[in-house]
Amino acid sequence: MSLQAGGPKAEAAFREASLACLDGLFGFAMVLAREPAAAEDLVQETYLRALSARHKADLSENLRGWLFTILHNVWRNEVRRPRLERLDEADVSRGPRSVVWLVSPGGPHEELERVRLRETLRQAVDELPSRLREVVILRGFEGFSYQEIASILGCPTGTVMSRLARGRALIRRRLADHPSRASCEAGR
């Protein structure tokens, strides 16, 4: 069904499709704002602007990308504090360590380790510099293509590629520092 502004069915389709993006938008807002109240404000503002601007946009193809773009623009233009996060290139240059043990099969103990690893993963993503965190989330959890991410963030596709590589490298390094790593390696 067309999402273009029009009759009641189109309105309902727009509403439904927009609400389906809510978790993703909130997750992205949390990545940017890092605090629930501010993230909620960001999402609410995104929906308000989407509602008022929807007649200007062609929503038939990528409503989700459009909403994420609005949210990022709101953040970039009106909310973000002027301080820019600096990438720690030294950390990146040290490179990732092995995380092969992440996919090793195992019993309950390993399953418990996986739970801990998931929490470690959350922390690792959360600790990334914001510019890396953005692309990691948009690709890893939202499944946007590099081109879509570039459009959302307003940067070249090559920048998306490099930020994603650096972000993942930092996460891998953080995961490799997980306390259980030694025991996993010892079992190899």
Partner: protein
């Protein structure tokens, strides 16, 4: 085929796993993988990481309250009709009357057991004030000129916001300064958030349509046809009231009884002389 340097391929590993490498670039990378154990290991590690991320699922889920709010926002008609109220006179008048309410603050605290729930709007005013003070809510317009700030709100809020600019005489020092304003999302629409500064302390004025919210809770002071709701929230003095279709919340952490925040609209020496501390004048 050009020999690939492993150190220069780190950027391509992620792109390859994401299926973002195409054409000759992909063919060259795959050819390199066939003969490079290190890069194959790097690909395995990125794939393992992505598998873990898929397994972990979204890091955040929208809270139920946000989902309800989003539903309300999206249920709005696309082009809401704007109500227009002459705010300048109303704000000046109301804030002046508010002086009376502030001055009654110590004597009008609710008796034990008589405390009612906090007003949603007063809470929003206090929360917005705090977040602004912490630097979490930068202003979208910055100016000491009331007309400029008010003009910025035109068309952005569903009412006509004309900020008071007290006519200070040439020999009289302005006791406050307008800092600026921004929009604050509220009930599927916007409230106007305006910041003043007095003695290096911020004073916040939040204005929204009365159709979206009415003040309630706290202790009340009636002045003429108006009822002021007085609350202390997070250590801040908050006074809220509604008049002619608009709801206001005035927030400050000024010492004493906070009545000085009302000097934003009533800051002349003459007026201060006419309004000494003590019982408030009868409401006009």
């Amino acid at each position: 085929m050009r020999t690939m340097d492993c150190d220069s391929l780190d950027l391509l590993v992620s792109a390859y796993v994401d299926d973002e490498l195409v054409g000759e670039e992909r063919e060259a990378f795959e050819a390199h993988l066939r003969q490079c154990r290190r890069c194959r290991g790097a690909v395995d590690e990125v794939q393992a990481l992505l598998a873990l991320m898929r397994e972990a699922g979204p890091l955040h889920r929208a809270p139920p309250g946000l989902r309800e709010m989003a539903g309300r926002v999206l249920a709005r008609p696309p082009s809401p009709s704007a109500r227009r109220w002459p705010l300048a006179v109303a704000a000046a008048l109301l804030l002046g009357v508010a002086v009376s309410a502030w001055r009654q603050w110590p004597a009008r605290r609710p008796a034990a057991g008589a405390t009612t729930e906090s007003s949603e709007f007063a809470s929003l005013g206090a929360d917005t004030h705090l977040r602004h003070v912490r630097g979490q809510l930068p202003l979208e317009v910055r100016s000491e000129r009331a007309a400029e700030v008010a003009g910025w709100f035109a068309g952005r809020v569903p009412f006509n916001l004309t900020l008071p600019d007290y006519p200070i005489g040439s020999e009289e020092r302005k006791p406050y300064a307008l800092v600026g304003g921004r929009l604050v999302a509220f009930h599927g629409d916007y409230a106007a958030y305006v910041v003043y500064r007095m003695e290096h302390r911020p004073i916040s004025l939040l204005v929204a349509s009365a159709s979206a919210v009415l003040p309630r809770g706290g202790s009340t002071v009636t002045s003429g046809a108006l009822t002021f709701h007085l609350e202390t929230l997070a250590g801040l003095k908050v006074i809220s009231w509604t008049h002619r279709g608009l709801t206001y919340a005035l927030v400050s952490d000024l010492p004493e009884d906070g009545a000085r925040s009302c000097l934003v609209c009533h800051g002349s020496d003459q007026e201060r002389r006419l309004r000494p501390a003590g019982p408030p004048p009868p409401a006009s």
